[in-house]
């Protein structure tokens, strides 16, 4: 008999109580965490304000390294945003029943990571106060954005993705908001009533809802792929050595999924611990996510090998110069990245026992994201340091301003996620309960099996 996805024999009220436990009155430790994260965000804002009032010379950016940690952050956060919605959409389309407790954590992650990521091009602008020059609207300045620039493709794609991901998150939450509405009072009741839009769960509403969910999932996947392909084109359509490569878009998409799936696992572990959801996020979920991560780690390793092998075998002088510079100056980072992104996950995730160990999964998933941040750094900085003209070769080291803004971004993401978890259901309540409601025990010869009536 297959392993149960849900805890056995719990009433709907019990399931509601447990899965909506994150909405209970905050504890002191929650306030302390929110305060700490808020303080780090405030520090990041101070650093950004300092940069505004002085100039970009307080950063480590220089000629030739014009893109530094801000763009590393941009690529990293947009990459993270990928998997949330994409994994959720793929699992929805494939009707994998084990997906149910994971969906919300993944979808919420996308919305907040893309929000944080989208800030970095604006932070990087230099003259941040004229950011509205980027927006295409008729104006008296006689300026119009140049759509031939890959940066404008970015803006368009990220705008589409943040709207699409937010709608996807909201759509999945709609029936849960109605459940939360029926169990709340005061400001929460008003908030959930407005957001639930009068949902009653009529049979016709469910039929339309399921069709809309499937359609949204099918629409959001190509958007997710396009967003990171376009981020890759920011690099690949230039003629900078190390960037001008046809493999960049698929390599970026795979890298994005790699870091995103790892981040979903990390968040699952945190949510499971904090909200006591051990009955819902079981070792089975980590096992399945581990298998997914293993496949992606293999794909990422293959793509990285192909990229480096082509450079090495062709030995084109300037390409090889960039790689040699990276392998020499950033040897430790390079080796750590290969270990964290490739060696460790491939070795560890081959074993079922390790995939089912929460501690191992936490270490693997966190290290993958450290590795992926380094990978973004190693894509951007060495290529800009050693471009085609040797007389402008240089190096780059981020300053306290850039590091503070980066810390602020991580804290900002964590703060948004923490606030979201306190205001909205962190587990897809109705999705999980649907499985329970459709279950039935049927007799098959001498044994009794659990069957589940599937939709459509």
């Amino acid at each position: 008999m297959s392993e149960p996805i849900l805890p056995a024999a719990k009433s709907s009220s019990q399931l509601n109580d447990e899965m909506l436990s994150s909405l209970r009155t905050p504890t002191w430790s929650w306030y302390a965490l929110a305060l700490f994260l808020g303080a780090v965000v405030a520090w990041g804002l101070y650093a950004f304000g300092y940069m505004l009032t002085t100039d970009m010379s307080c950063t480590g950016l220089n000629r030739p390294v014009m893109w530094g940690v801000y763009i590393v952050n941009f690529v990293f956060w947009i990459g993270l945003s990928h998997s949330g919605t994409m994994v959720s959409a793929i699992l929805r389309l494939s009707r994998a029943n084990w997906r149910r407790p994971i969906l919300r954590a993944a979808e919420a992650m996308t919305v907040f990571t893309v929000a944080v990521g989208g800030l970095f091009p604006l932070i990087h602008l230099g003259r941040n106060w004229v950011f509205f020059y980027l927006i295409p609207y008729p104006n008296q300045r006689g300026l119009w954005p140049n759509f031939r620039s890959a940066l404008l493709w970015d803006a368009t794609a990220i705008f589409t993705y943040i709207i699409g991901s937010s709608l996807f998150l909201y759509l999945g939450m709609l029936p849960d908001l109605a459940v939360a509405r029926d169990r709340s009072s005061g400001w929460r009741f008003k908030l959930y009533s407005v957001l639930a839009m009068g949902w009653r769960g009529a049979a016709r509403e469910w039929a339309i809802f399921h069709q809309a969910s499937t359609l949204m999932a099918a629409l959001i996947i190509p958007v997710a792929v396009s967003v990171h392909s376009i981020v890759a084109w920011d690099f690949a359509v230039t003629v900078i050595p190390g960037w001008h490569s046809t493999i960049f878009p698929p390599y970026f998409v795979i890298g994005a999924i790699h870091s995103g799936v790892a981040a979903v696992i990390t968040l699952m572990i945190i949510i499971r611990r904090v909200f006591h959801l051990e009955d819902y996020l079981t070792p089975l979920h980590f096992d399945n996510m581990g298998k997914l991560l293993l496949v992606i780690a293999l794909l990422w390793s293959y793509a990285y090998f192909v990229e480096v092998q082509t450079t090495w075998y062709a030995h084109e002088p300037i390409e090889w110069e960039v790689f040699s510079f990276m392998a020499d100056k950033y040897a430790f980072l390079l080796l750590f990245m290969i270990f964290a992104n490739s060696v460790l996950p491939i070795v560890a995730l081959c074993f079922k026992r390790l995939r089912r160990s929460i501690a191992v999964m936490l270490v693997v998933s966190v290290l993958i994201n450290v590795g992926m941040f380094i990978e973004r750094f190693l894509i951007i900085v060495p290529s800009l340091s050693h471009k085609n003209m040797p007389f402008v070769w240089g190096t780059y080291r981020p300053t306290w301003v850039e590091l503070s803004v980066t810390a602020g971004a991580f804290a900002g993401f964590a703060l948004m996620y923490t606030l979201f978890a306190k205001c909205f259901p962190m587990v897809a309540v109705t999705d999980v309960r649907e499985l329970e409601a459709q279950k039935s025990v049927v007799r098959l010869s001498r044994t009794r099996l659990q069957s589940s009536a599937e939709k459509e």
Binding site: S11, W153, F159, T160, D182, G198, A212, E434, E436
Partner: protein, 194 residues
């Protein structure tokens, strides 16, 4: 007017639906209110065909037009002359057109879904918060009363209102409540009493 019966389990809710149909109510009048989805036919049968996907398609086409106009149209209106580059470039126009197509389609899906669901409603509709706790609501829409049109092969679904429609609305509601109570409803709520 609507009458809602609240049931603690799906078996008694299913029995209530069967009895309502035997009494002369038609499938179209009966719906279930549940906090989780049940496969069609477990409680009630409902129309599975939807039109909102056509709305998504229409929005996608509108988005393609908007994207093309934004990238190519404005490039033509406000030409940015850069050496050896076309004013209207195929590649950027394609990307912006694609992104706006998808954006409009995504937004159109949500708008179309709500339009087809008829949400949000300003009218307060009959409901019970017990439904969130796993109870099942069976809701019966009451006809305004008049001549019944029996369902048959030559009768369009929207014209088929069943024999019970010949009764005055209050009597229809009372009959529905009686049937649901007999089937095991925990309680019944009629719309004019909320």
């Amino acid at each position: 007017m609507e009458v809602l019966g609240i049931f603690s389990d799906k078996e008694s809710a299913g029995i209530a639906v069967e009895h309502l149909i035997k009494e002369g109510f038609v499938e179209r009048q009966i719906t279930s209110l549940t906090s989780v989805a049940y496969p069609d036919g477990v409680l009630v049968r409902t129309e599975q065909r939807t039109w909102f996907r056509w709305f998504t398609l229409a929005c996608g086409i509108a988005g393609a037009g908007a994207g093309f106009l934004l990238a190519a149209g404005t490039a033509w209106l406000y030409p940015v002359k850069t050496g050896d580059k076309p004013i209207i470039a195929f590649y950027p126009t394609g990307i912006v057109t694609y992104e706006l197509t998808m954006l409009f389609a995504l937004v159109g899906t949500i708008i179309g879904m709500f339009l087809e669901m008829g949400l949000p409603t300003l009218r307060k509709r009959v409901y019970d918060p017990l439904i969130a706790e796993g109870y099942i609501g069976i809701s019966v829409s009451i006809h305004s009363g008049g001549e019944a049109v029996a369902c048959g092969a030559d009768v369009l679904p929207r014209e088929c209102i069943g024999a019970v429609a010949a009764l005055p609305p209050d009597e229809q509601a009372s009959r529905a409540e009686e049937i649901m109570k007999a089937a095991g409803a925990v309680r019944t709520i009629a719309e004019d009493r909320i």
